[in-house]
Amino acid sequence: MYETKYHKAGSLDNATSLMGSADDGKYLGGGMTLIPTMKQRLAAPSDLVDLGGIADLQGISTDGSTLTIGAGVTHAEVAGSSDVQGAIPALAALASHIGDPHVRNCGTLGGSIANNDPAADYPAAVLALGATIKTNSREITAGDFFNGMFETSLSDDEIIVSVSFPIPEKAGYAKFPNPASRYAMAGVFAASTSDGPRVAVTGAGQDGVYREDAMEAALSADWSPAAASGVDVSADDLMSDIHGTSDYRANLVKVMAGRAVEAAG
C-alpha cells in the first residue's frame, strides 16, 4: 500500500471540508473494495476520509410505505434488522449473502452503491425497488444514479446519506455466484410494486445493473416464475469472461429471474 493520510470525519460538513483540502482524496465507507485495491497498489489516494463516524449515515427507519437505510449501515445490520425483515425481507436476505461475514460486518450500503461494482448485489435491489438515493446535496432516483460499470452520477465530493426504498408488495432476489469471487455472475431482483413489476439484473450486463423490460412486461401479465424464466434474454449486451460466456449468463438471468419470483411468492 502507498502512503496515505487517514482522517476520521465527525460530520458531513467535516467530511466535505477534509475532502476539499485533500490533493486526491477518497471517501472510505466500509473499505471492502477500496482497501484491498490500495493494498494491491492499484489505488493511491493521498487522503482517506473515513465516513464511519458520521451519525447522520447510521440508522434504519420505516414509515409504513418507505424503508430508509443509512448509507453507513453495514450489510450485517441490514440482514439482521427486524425493520428490514418486516418491510422488505428480500433485501435482508440479499444483504445476508453479500461476501463473507467479514465483508458483511464492515461493508456498507452506501459504499456498495457508490462503488457500483457491476457484480455487486445491492444495485439490483436499489434499481428494482425504485429507491431514492439521498446525498448531502440532493436526491437522486435509482434510474438516474447508476451510469455503467463503476460509474454513478455522484460528484467527487458528494456523500450518500441514505437510501429510501418504497416498500413493494412482494420481492425476491436470486443470484448465481461466481465460483471464484462469489460475486454475482447473474443476480436478479424482482419486485411487485405499485408501479407494476420491476426486474433488475446485476452481474451479467456489460454496463452494470440494468432493468429487464421484457421480463417486467411478462410478469405484469402473469406474476409467476415460469413467466419470468420464459422470457428470451439476448446475450448481446452481456459480459463474457473466463467464468462464463454471455450465452451462459443469458441463461442464468432467466433461471435466476424465475427463482427470484419464486422466492417473492
Binding site: F176, H243, Y248
Partner: protein
C-alpha cells in the same frame, strides 16, 4: 500403548499453530533487517534493451539496486533441473539458461529482472517501481501444443521448436500390434488442467551475511532445506556448504511448490553479501500466483485395446507436457518417471507404450504439485476405463475386475513392480459404503426433484517414496532418495529425534514421536522432533512424494533399532542378565521371566554416567541411520463420487464421496484422515474449480482469488473414509504413504460421476457450472435430434 502406532494422538504442533504462535519465516526479523523487492517482467516474452537503476538508487531508504549482469558477473550459476531425462534418440534434454535475475531476455510474466534492497518493505517496493527497463516485446506462446508448431515463437536457443525432450517408455511395436489385433479399441483425448499450488503461507526468504565469518544463513520456506543448501552451494556457487546454514522453520504448506530453489532465494543470498547485511523478501499473493511453480498442464491422446473377453491387450499414450519458460528442479521427472510409469493403473496390461514430449512456453515453470505425475496418470487411465465400459456396454465395475492385478509382486511393462495390494478389497468395501448398487433409486428420486444424479468411480494406484537411490540415479536423478535420522537419548531418558524429513503441515512432530512411544512405552511429551535446520540435523532429502512415512520414519526406526540394542546391552550388563532376555516396555527395562527391572531413565543415565558399562562400550546413547528403501511403495484405493447436477445452471453438488485407501500400516489414523481430506479437497479443486489461465499474450488471467477458484468448505461433502491394509513389504514399518492419494484418485471419480449424470462423456476439467451446463445441453440437443 495409547500413544504408539495406530493411536489417534492429537497433534503436538497444533498448540502453537492454533494459538497463532507458529514461527514462520516472515515472523523472523534479523538485526538491521533490510527488505528486498523484485522488479519483474510485465511481458511474457521480451528482450531487455536497457536497465536504468539510477532513479531507484536515489530513492529514500534504498541500499542497493542490483541486476542480472552483476549477479552473473559475480559467478552466481544458472538455475538447473536436477533430473536428466534424455530424448528417445539419445539427445540430451535441452536445458535453457535460467539466471536468477534475467540478463538478456524475459520469458514469462513475473520473471525477475532486478532486486532492490531498502530499509523498509515499502521503500523497496516504491524504488522497484522507479527502475526503468526498456523492453523490446517479442511474440509469446503459452500453449504447449502451439509452441511445437512451425513458426511458433522460440524461447531458448538450446531448444529448437521449444522441445525439451521427446521421451518414451515401453515397447512401441508390440503395443501397436496388440492394439491392431484387439477386438475393441477405445480412443480418447485428455487435457489435464494447469493449477496454481496456493500454499497458505507464501514463499519467503531471509538471507544474512556475516562478513567476519564469511558465513551465510538462509531462512526459507522449503520442504527440503538440505537439498536447498546442496544446490545453492554446488550449482549456484552462492556459498560453500559449510559456510551456509539453511533453516526452514514452520512452513505453512508446500504441496510441492516449496521443493525448488527459486530465483528469489539465490538473489537474496547474493544481495546479502553485496549489501553486507540481512535481506528479507516475502512474496505477496500476486507474486505467488505469478512465480510459484504451477502444476500439471498436459495434453494427451490415448488408445486402449481389449480382447473379446474385455481383457486389456495394449495401451498407447501420447502426451505433450508444458514445462513453462524454464526447467524447474524436478520438472523433467514429473511428466516422465512419475507419470508414465503409473499408466498401468491397477490393471494387468501386457503392452504399454507412452511418448512424452516436453515443451517450453512463456508461462511460469511447471513442476511437481501434490501427486506430481500420478494424478495425470490416474486421470487418464481411470477416465479411459470408464469411457471404455460405457462405449462397450459393460459395467465399469466388471471391466475393472476383469483386468485387476491379483498376484504380487507384479511387474508392469513401465518399470514399476507392484509389491503388494488387494484391489478387490477396497473396491468392494467402497461399493458397499457408497451403496453403489442402490444408485438407480437415488437417480429416480433426484429426477423427481429436477436434478440429475450420477455416480463414478476411480481405482487408483500411485507410487510413493521414490527409490532406491541407485535405481533413480540410473534414471537420471541428480540426488539420492534415502533419508536420515538421529535418535538422541538424553541422560534423563527423554528423546530427541532429528530427521531429514520436513513437516509443513503433515504432523511429523506427532507421528514421528509415536514411533518412540511405540518402541519404548514412553509418554509422547518425552519426545521432541527436530527438523528443518542444516546446523542441527545431519542431512536429509526432505518431504515430498509422500515419502516421510515410508522413508523418513523407516530411517528413524533403524536408528531406534540401534538405540534399543545398545540400551539392552547396558541393561543386561547392569542386571547381570542375558541380552536376549531384556524387554523394554511401558518405560521400563525388564529381564523377562524375572522381577528384575530398571527404569528407562536409569539405563539412559547409566549410558551417560559410564561408571558401569560393558567392557569396551562407548558412553552415551545416540544413534543415527540412513535408510535407502528397496522399492517404491504403492498405495492404492477405490474412490466413489456421487453428484447431483442442477440442469438449469450446471451447478454440481458432490452429495457423497467415499474413499477407501490401502496405505499399508497407519501410524495415526486421525492424521491420515486429515491428509485424505486435504488431498480430496485439492482433487475436487482440480476437477471442478481450479484453473490457471494465461491469455494469448501470456498474461495470467487468474492471478487472484477473484478469478482463481480455490475449494471452500461449502464445495466439499462430508467424506466417507475407509481403509484396507496390505503392509508394504519393502520397509520395516509396512507404511505406504498417504499425502497425495486424495488428489491423485479423486478427479477421475468426479468427472466419471458428472458425465454419468449429464449423459455426455465429453467434459474437461475443471468441470465448472458453465461447462457442465453446456455439455448437458449438447447431450440433450443431440438426444432430441435423434
Amino acid at each position: 500403548m495409547s500413544e504408539g502406532i495406530g493411536a489417534r494422538v492429537t497433534r503436538k504442533e497444533d498448540k502453537r499453530f492454533i494459538t497463532g504462535h507458529g514461527r514462520y519465516t516472515d515472523d523472523i526479523v534479523e538485526q538491521n533487517q533490510t527488505y528486498a523487492a523484485f522488479v519483474r517482467s510485465p511481458h511474457a516474452h521480451a528482450e531487455i534493451l536497457s536497465i536504468d537503476r539510477d532513479a531507484a538508487k536515489a530513492m529514500p531508504g534504498v541500499i542497493d539496486v542490483l541486476d542480472g549482469k552483476q549477479l552473473t558477473g559475480d559467478g552466481i550459476g544458472n538455475i538447473i533441473c536436477g533430473w536428466t531425462v534424455n530424448s528417445k534418440d539419445g539427445t540430451p534434454m535441452a536445458m535453457g539458461a535460467w539466471s536468477a535475475l534475467a540478463t538478456q531476455y524475459v520469458r514469462y510474466v513475473g520473471d525477475a529482472v532486478v532486486i532492490v534492497v531498502a530499509e523498509t518493505q515499502d521503500q523497496a517496493r516504491e524504488a522497484a517501481e522507479a527502475v526503468v527497463i526498456d523492453y523490446k516485446e517479442l511474440p509469446a506462446v503459452v500453449s504447449a501444443v502451439e509452441a511445437l508448431q512451425d513458426g511458433a515463437p522460440q524461447l531458448h536457443p538450446e531448444a529448437p521448436n521449444n522441445q525439451i525432450f521427446d521421451w518414451e517408455i515401453g515397447d512401441e511395436a508390440p503395443t501397436d500390434e496388440a492394439i491392431a489385433g484387439a477386438a475393441h479399441v477405445v480412443e480418447m483425448d485428455f487435457t489435464n488442467n494447469r493449477l496454481s499450488p496456493n500454499p497458505m503461507e507464501p514463499r519467503s526468504a531471509i538471507a544474512t551475511y556475516n562478513a567476519i565469518e564469511e558465513h551465510y544463513t538462509l531462512y526459507t520456506t522449503s520442504q527440503n532445506p538440505h537439498v536447498a543448501r546442496l544446490i545453492l552451494s554446488a550449482f549456484y556457487q552462492v556459498a560453500p556448504e559449510h559456510k551456509l546454514r539453511v533453516i526452514a522453520p514452520d512452513v505453512g504448506g508446500g504441496f510441492g511448490s516449496k521443493i525448488y530453489v527459486y530465483p528469489e532465494e539465490i538473489a537474496c543470498l547474493w544481495a546479502s553479501m553485496k549489501t553486507n547485511g540481512s535481506v528479507k523478501w516475502t512474496s505477496d499473493r500476486t507474486e505467488a500466483f505469478l512465480t510459484d511453480a504451477h502444476g500439471r498442464d498436459h495434453v494427451s491422446t490415448a488408445k486402449i485395446g481389449f480382447d473379446k473377453d474385455y481383457k486389456i491387450v495394449g495401451l498407447k499414450v501420447d502426451t505433450i507436457a508444458n514445462l513453462g519458460a524454464y526447467m524447474s528442479l524436478f520438472s523433467s521427472a514429473t511428466p516422465t518417471y512419475l507419470y508414465a510409469t503409473l499408466l498401468s493403473g491397477q490393471y494387468n496390461i501386457a503392452n504399454i507404450h507412452a511418448n512424452v514430449c516436453t515443451v517450453y512456453t512463456n508461462t511460469v515453470p511447471v513442476d511437481a504439485y501434490r501427486g506430481a505425475g500420478r494424478p495425470e496418470a490416474s486421470f487418464l487411465i481411470e477416465r479411459l476405463i470408464e469411457t471404455s465400459a460405457r462405449q462397450l456396454g459393460i459395467s465399469p465395475v466388471e471391466l475393472r475386475r476383469k483386468n485387476f492385478v491379483t498376484e504380487f509382486p507384479h511387474q508392469t511393462p513401465v518399470i514399476m513392480a507392484y509389491d503388494t495390494g488387494d484391489f478387490e478389497a477396497h473396491l468392494s468395501d467402497a461399493m458397499k459404503a457408497a451403496d453403489w448398487d442402490g444408485i438407480a433409486a437415488r437417480k429416480a428420486e433426484a429426477e423427481s426433484r429436477g436434478k440429475l444424479r450420477g455416480i463414478g468411480m476411480s481405482c487408483y494406484i500411485e507410487a510413493c517414496g521414490i527409490a532406491p537411490s541407485a535405481a533413480v540415479g540410473s534414471l537420471g536423478a541428480g540426488v539420492g532418495l534415502w533419508e536420515s535420522a538421529e535418535v538422541r537419548v538424553n541422560p534423563v531418558g527423554t528423546i530427541e529425534i532429528l530427521t531429514g524429513s520436513h513437516s509443513h503441515g503433515q504432523g511429523h512432530e506427532t507421528t514421528f514421536a509415536q514411533l518412540v512411544c511405540d518402541r519404548f512405552g514412553l509418554p509422547i511429551d518425552n519426545v521432541q522432533v527436530i527438523h528443518g535446520d542444516t546446523d542441527k540435523v545431519q542431512f536429509g532429502m526432505g518431504t515430498y512424494g509422500s515419502r516421510s512415512g515410508a522413508v523418513g520414519m523407516s530411517a528413524i526406526a533403524k536408528a531406534l533399532d540401534k538405540v534399543e540394542a545398545k540400551a539392552k546391552k547396558i541393561a543386561a550388563h547392569l542386571m547381570e542378565a542375558d541380552e536376549g532376555d531384556i524387554v523394554i516396555e511401558n518405560g521400563e527395562v525388564k529381564v523377562a521371566g524375572t522381577d528384575k527391572v530398571l527404569g528407562w531413565h536409569e539405563v539412559c543415565l547409566a549410558a551417560y554416567m559410564a561408571h558401569n558399562l560393558p567392557e569396551g562400550m562407548e558412553p552415551g546413547l545416540k544413534e543415527g541411520a540412513f535408510y535407502d528403501p528397496a522399492n517404491f511403495t504403492f498405495p492404492s484405493g477405490t474412490y466413489i463420487c456421487e453428484v447431483e447436477v442442477d440442469p438449469e445452471t450446471g451447478t454440481t453438488d458432490i452429495v457423497q464421496f467415499t474413499a477407501v485407501d490401502d496405505f499399508g500400516v497407519i501410524i495415526n489414523p486421525m492424521i491420515v484422515e486429515g491428509q485424505v481430506h486435504g488431498g480430496l479437497a485439492q482433487g475436487i479443486g482440480q476437477a471442478m474449480l481450479e484453473h490457471a489461465i494465461y491469455d494469448d499474450n501470456g498474461q495470467l488471467l487468474t492471478a487472484s482469488y477473484m478469478d482463481y477458484c480455490m475449494p471452500r468448505a461449502d464445495n466439499l461433502p462430508s467424506f466417507t473414509i475407509g481403509h484396507t491394509t496390505t503392509a508394504c513389504p519393502s520397509n520395516p514399518l509396512g507404511i505406504k504413504g498417504c499425502g497425495e492419494a486424495g488428489a491423485i484418485g479423486s478427479p477421475p471419480a468426479i468427472i466419471n460421476a458428472i458425465t454419468d449424470a449429464i449423459g455426455n462423456n465429453n467434459l474437461s476439467m475443471p468441470a465448472t457450472p458453465q461447462k457442465v451446463w453446456a455439455a448437458y445441453n449438447a447431450a440433450s440437443t443431440k438426444q432430441a435430434a435423434e
